[in-house]
């Protein structure tokens, strides 16, 4: 009898001491789930959810609430209307409290409108278009629910890419004793590259580099051998890439196959993925690109996150996995404000400095990340014998040397 009574008391005690899970914080993760971008959105969010729930959940006022994720396939790579339908569904049917994700700028701009109509806090984790932040500046009352968590806006991406290009050109000057390195610009024909191409054509001569030509293949081109033949004729030292589509793989592979005596650096979104090496059949050596995650000390949290991610998913994270940071930012804001009310969370995030895993984030009046090397500007990596090796910014602990092809 006594044993039964003690057992009942113990069970009751446990029940009372356990956090109440009756209510959750529902977060919709928006991304093209059949693609690498969506997979990383989801994986980063899962890691944050599991970590927070394991530690007891989010303190909302006097109660602990666990995180519930809703996986929302936006299919935005194929269809912008699919994306707006998906976010509508997340808001109206799934009744998500918060929205995180997005990748393709055209789709995110459309999804932003839906989220703002519903006055839902929307943390972007993929699109770079400036207009997303400009909307906040021009019509704060409507667009204040938007914050950009990754990447920096397109103009700031350009600042980063030119900073790294300066480092690469410096190495060519030293190694080849060539005072004015020759640069071939290879940019896919897309809206996002227009300003960057114009800036490159204008800035590179000022940076003591000679632009030998600008080639603009389609983002889905399956062959760039004609372009590469022309680049070889022009004796380019650097192939400056602005590529987001599969043409980035084609370029890397064909440069390797033809052993083009030049290094490729710039933005090559496909080059950021672990799958790049396999997709180029091992020919993508020396291809380098801007990136976000590597086992380097961008913040005190970066290395542990990247290692845990690799262990769990058997691959390295891409920048979309910064959904992890987005959820941590939300948690921090909710716990400070003690509410889920978006209007009360906005001023908290605006004043926040968040030391995440991708960088150290603060926001400007456009709710864009404040650009700073070593904080939000990201890193640059180079493919070296099947491994993605980080080489920039050099002051960050863990960076390794940039390598040149043997023929250079």
């Amino acid at each position: 009898m006594l044993r039964t009574l003690l057992s009942a008391t113990a069970i009751l005690g446990l029940a009372l001491s356990a956090p109440s899970w009756s209510q959750t914080v529902k977060i919709a993760i928006l991304g093209p789930m059949a693609f690498v971008q969506g997979e990383n959105h989801w994986a980063g969010a899962e890691m944050a959810r599991d970590e927070i729930n394991k530690a007891g959940g989010i303190q909302v006022g006097g109660a602990k609430r666990r995180i519930e994720l809703v996986r929302v396939d936006t299919n935005e790579i194929q269809s912008v209307p699919d994306a707006t339908n998906a976010i509508e569904r997340a808001i109206s049917r799934d009744r998500a409290d918060f929205l995180i994700g997005g990748f393709r700028s055209e789709a995110v701009l459309a999804m932003q409108e839906v989220a703002m109509d519903a006055k839902k806090l929307f943390l972007g984790a993929g699109a770079a278009h400036s207009k997303l932040g400009l909307n906040v500046e021009q019509n704060y009352e409507r667009y204040k629910y938007w914050f950009r968590v990754t990447p920096t806006k397109d103009v700031d991406l350009a600042r980063t890419v030119f900073a790294v290009l300066g480092t690469v050109a410096g190495q060519i000057r030293t190694n080849l004793k060539r005072e004015t390195p020759k640069v071939a610009i290879v940019a896919e024909k897309a809206v996002w590259t227009e300003a960057l191409v114009a800036a490159a054509q204008k800035n590179l001569p000022a940076m003591k580099m000679e632009v030998v030509g600008t080639w603009q293949p389609s983002a889905v081109a399956t062959d760039v051998t004609a372009e590469l033949s022309a680049i070889k004729r022009a004796n380019a030292d650097i192939v400056f890439t602005l590529l987001s589509g599969p043409v980035g793989i084609v370029l890397g592979r064909q440069m390797g196959e033809l052993q083009l005596p030049a290094v490729a650096f710039g933005i090559n979104v496909e080059g950021q993925k672990d799958e790049f090496w396999q997709a180029t059949a091992g020919k993508g050596n020396y291809v380098s690109t801007l990136d976000t995650f590597s086992e380097v000390e961008m913040t005190p949290n970066t290395i542990a996150f990247v290692k845990a991610f690799k262990e769990r998913y058997k691959r390295a994270p891409t920048y979309n996995a910064a959904t992890y940071d987005a959820i941590k930012i939300l948690k921090s804001a909710i716990e400070q404000a003690g509410t889920l009310d978006a209007d009360k969370l906005i001023p908290v995030i605006e004043k926040m400095e968040h030391v995440g895993v991708a960088g150290t984030d603060t926001w400007d009046k456009r709710h864009d990340l404040v650009w700073a090397i070593g904080k939000t500007a990201g890193i640059a990596v180079q493919w070296q014998d099947g491994k993605k090796v980080p080489f920039w910014p050099p002051q960050v602990k863990g960076m390794q040397p940039f390598k040149m092809p043997a023929s250079k």
């Binding site: 693609f35 600008t214 004609a226 396999q278």
Partner: protein, 289 residues
């Protein structure tokens, strides 16, 4: 620059020819506008990836296995999808578009939207007139020659070829002469799919394998067969090289307009349709049976 255009145009034209010949054959013989032709080429590329990269099967075995698998699928598709609507051209067109989309979505679900690579049969490059050409592209050129020879032999040196040509010439008379025209059409589809599969296996190591890889070559291939003349194998071959050279000239003459390669090919198609609707070697529409 001249030699760059010459070599690049020749090699790229070879890649296009490999695709266009099979499409042209099935149209010229069976009068089936098979929009899913490049989807069979995509299936072969995926089969090769699954066998050679995922399964560890040696390329020498993986290539014939991929071709056999694609031919089997094409026969199934013919029986289930094409044959029931074969007498209605528009229905065949729509059915084959649907087939292509079904393959695309199936691969998207099975393999995800990842870009995949298949190892080359031969690594390295040769220098031709000072222009670097990868060995794999030379393999593609060799495959074009083989495919052409095989097609010529089949059509001109076998009883099946005779039946195919008879059916192409006059379906009703061929039927009255005792030729099983349905069977001939089915075998033509299988042979055409085999050509697409060979193209997929040869070209997969040159291109990137993804669930949408069937669409860009489809547009170029349509431009080629219209330029060469619908159903004309010789026309397809010449059309493929013309498009290959035009694309190379576009890239070298207007580097910042390299993305216009496809548009230039389509423009040529439209101009040909306006000036010479039957193409270079095709049968004039009004003369068709």
């Amino acid at each position: 620059m001249f030699q760059d255009i010459l070599i690049t145009g020749l090699v790229n034209g070879g890649v296009y020819a490999l695709l266009a010949i099979g499409f042209s054959l099935i149209f010229g013989v069976a009068r089936i506008v098979n929009i899913a032709h490049t989807a069979f080429y995509m299936l072969a590329a995926y089969a090769l990836y699954a066998l050679a990269v995922k399964g560890g099967v040696p390329l020498a075995a993986a290539i014939p296995l991929s071709v056999i698998a694609v031919v089997a699928i094409s026969l199934l598709c013919y029986k289930l999808v094409i044959e029931p609507v074969r007498r209605h051209d528009a229905a065949v067109l729509i059915a084959t578009i649907a087939l292509g989309l079904v393959f695309q979505e199936t691969l998207l679900i099975s393999f995800g939207g990842h870009y995949l690579g298949v190892p080359a049969i031969a690594d390295g490059f040769a220098s031709v007139l000072g222009v670097r050409v990868s060995y794999q592209r030379l393999v593609v050129l060799a495959a074009v020659a083989l495919v052409l020879a095989a097609t010529w032999l089949l059509l001109n040196r076998t009883r099946l070829g005779l039946a195919i040509r008879a059916a192409a010439n006059d379906l009703e008379v061929a039927n009255l002469m005792g030729i099983n025209v349905e069977r001939v059409a089915m075998l033509t589809v299988a042979f055409s799919a085999a050509l697409a599969a060979v193209a997929g296996a040869a070209v997969a190591p040159v291109f990137v394998v993804d669930p949408f890889m069937w669409l860009p070559p489809l547009v170029t291939m349509l431009a080629i067969v219209v330029l060469g003349g619908l159903g004309s194998l010789k026309g397809s071959l010449i059309g493929a090289f013309i498009i290959g050279f035009v694309e190379a000239i576009t890239v070298f003459a207007v580097p910042s307009g390299a993305y216009l390669k496809g548009a230039v090919a389509l423009t040529i198609m439209v101009v040909v349709l306006l000036i010479r609707p039957e193409g270079l070697y095709g049968v004039a529409f009004e003369e068709e049976r």
